[in-house]
Amino acid sequence: MSDKALKDGPMHYCPGCGHTMAHKLVCDVIDGLGVRERTIGIAPVGCAVLAYDYWNFDVTEAPHGRCPAVATAIKRLLPDRVVFTYQGDGDLAAIGTSEIIHTANRGENITTVFVNNGVYGMTGGQLAPTTMLGQKTATTIKGRDVRRDGYPLKIAELIALLPGTRYVERVSIHTKAGVERAAEALRTAFKVQMDGRGFSLVEIVAVCPTYGARSVKEAYDRVENEIIKFYPLGILKDEGL
């Protein structure tokens, strides 16, 4: 077996899916920091549930939304390991809201990689808490309506407010510069953990071309023209390294 964090071979994600790039970025950072052999990853329930097929370090899967609780226990027992959760927007911002908020607020020394693609990919493109107003999904065929479906949730902003969090950044991977920034943000977030400073989270604005658009290009254009206008990129909290 190779000593790289990302296993060789194809991933099952749809063409243009944000998870492919997000996996690669996370694995590059783990390799760059030289921590593969002491990393434990927690995969979500969502399209990324099969992450353990791609990640060449110890990986477990948590029940839908519960990654932060699982990670909390692992890290408390193994404080010198690098522990991170990888979660979609349904996993983190809907069913798992309680766990992510309390884990962050306890200041657990873990890192969360939050892949926000604005829909539930795995179950067929339904409304997510992060879905844009007016956006059509399998359960909002006329578009997200505030009165029926409520507002899009900026959960990273919420988490940044908590005293237990040390580093929160939102990045996007629809451009080359964005990908480079994402790598930097992930590196910083992992380093915050390695320095024992507390909770860190990187939100990656990603696309689900299968359920978010008619083509990969349209999906990427939407990120540029709409999504990052509502979900502004940048550091939401940085309590210095």
């Binding site: 077996m1 593969r36 052999e37 002491r38 990393t39 434990i40 927690i42 549930v49 099969l50 353990y52 990640w55 060449n56 370090f57 110890d58 990986v59 477990t60 899967e61 948590a62 029940p63 519960r66 609780a69 699982v70 990670a71 909390t72 226990a73 692992i74 408390r76 027992l77 193994l78 390991r81 309680s98 766990e99 309390h102």
Partner: protein, 355 residues
């Protein structure tokens, strides 16, 4: 064996001390009556022992923290009471599906819904017949006193580890909150998770591993289930526990566990004084249920009398064992009611006269 030490404590505290002595390295819990003393006890003792205690934000978080702790190879426990245990069911199913050991304690209270905070035994179905989704079983131990709260918990960790499967202690509010002197004569155990052949602790010096319950490849989940079932059959063969009391020559045998068994034991003595040959069969493992042992006590005309603090849940297992419904009597109290000795004696005497 270390020399016996006598201490006076509650059932809940005895349970906690059993866990501490068994080397429990991680505890997470969320307050709920009638098991609050247990969470409080663990918060104190785990700190004293330099182990991890977390008061979680919910029972959902607690059971998933236990899952995380368990997959590092540490001994892990959570405790709650009925509504909280209902919330944990998905996590318990994941533990079984991932083949992870853990100890879960249910100090039962009255239901359904918020019910009340009085002792009850109405979670028998949930505990023994699945609770969570999918084909799984777990050893369910039912202590009938403070000493057994300690012993069952102490042993539960070994059973859980032996099979890599969750184990549940099914107690109730009376056993949890009563005080009795107990003898603590068990050696302190410790585990070395670094030696675990399956735990996730980072892949230094070995191939990377995963722990999961998802199997999407054609036939893979059925294969996994077959492995689980083989394990459950072994548990059925090896983990049966029960106690008999004056069942020799008995014409009427009470079947009861936990608090109900304590009451029936007193009833047996009273009936014997009146010349009624009564005995008690007390399952300690509710799963695996001691079907064969109970069947073995049947002389063909023996009357079995199941007493529970429920509408009759273990009753189905008793009927299954005896395979003659006409000889299985039942008396139960619901919603926190406790069976009265006089009521039990009346029903018993009438039945014995009839036969």
């Amino acid at each position: 064996m270390t020399p016996a030490k006598k201490i006076l404590i509650t059932g809940n505290e005895a349970c906690g001390e059993g866990a501490v002595t068994a080397g429990c390295g991680f505890y997470a819990g969320y307050p709920i009556t009638p098991q609050n003393e247990l969470t409080a006890y663990m918060s104190k003792r785990m700190d004293e022992c330099g182990r991890v205690f977390i008061q979680s934000e919910s029972e959902l978080a607690a059971i998933n923290m236990v899952l995380g702790a368990s997959l590092t190879g540490e001994r892990a426990m959570t405790t709650s009471s009925s509504p909280g245990i209902s919330l944990m069911q998905e996590g318990i199913s994941y533990l079984a599906g991932c083949q992870l050991p853990a100890v879960i304690v249910n100090v039962m209270r009255g239901g359904p819904g918020l019910g009340n905070i009085a002792a009850s035994q109405a979670d028998y179905f949930q505990a023994t017949k699945g609770g969570g989704h999918g084909d799984y079983n777990m050893v369910i131990l039912a202590p009938a006193g403070v000493q057994e709260m300690f012993e069952c918990t102490y042993e539960a960790f070994d059973i859980a580890e032996r099979y890599r499967n969750p184990v549940m202690i099914l107690s109730d509010g009376i056993i949890g909150q009563m005080m009795e002197p107990i003898e603590v004569r068990y050696p302190q155990k410790s585990v070395d998770p670094d030696k675990s052949p399956w735990a996730l602790r980072g892949c230094k010096g070995r191939e990377s591993r995963s722990i999961r319950s998802l199997f999407l490849k054609e036939g893979a989940l059925e294969e996994w289930n077959r492995d689980l079932q083989r394990k459950f059959r072994t548990m059925e063969a090896k983990e049966v526990r029960y106690e008999t009391y004056k069942t020799g020559g008995a014409r009427l045998i009470f079947v009861a566990y936990g608090t109900s068994a304590r009451i029936c034991r007193a009833v047996v003595d009273k009936l014997r004084q009146e010349g009624v040959k009564a005995g008690l069969f007390r399952p300690v493992s509710l799963w695996p249920f001691p079907y064969k042992k109970l069947k073995g006590l049947d002389k063909g005309t023996t009357v079995f009398f199941d007493v529970e603090m429920s509408a009759g849940q273990m009753l189905y297992d008793v009927r299954l064992a005896v395979a003659d419904d006409s000889r299985v009597l039942f008396h139960g109290r619901m919603g926190g009611g406790v069976p009265e000795e006089a009521d039990i004696i009346n029903i018993a005497k009438k039945a014995v006269k009839r036969k």
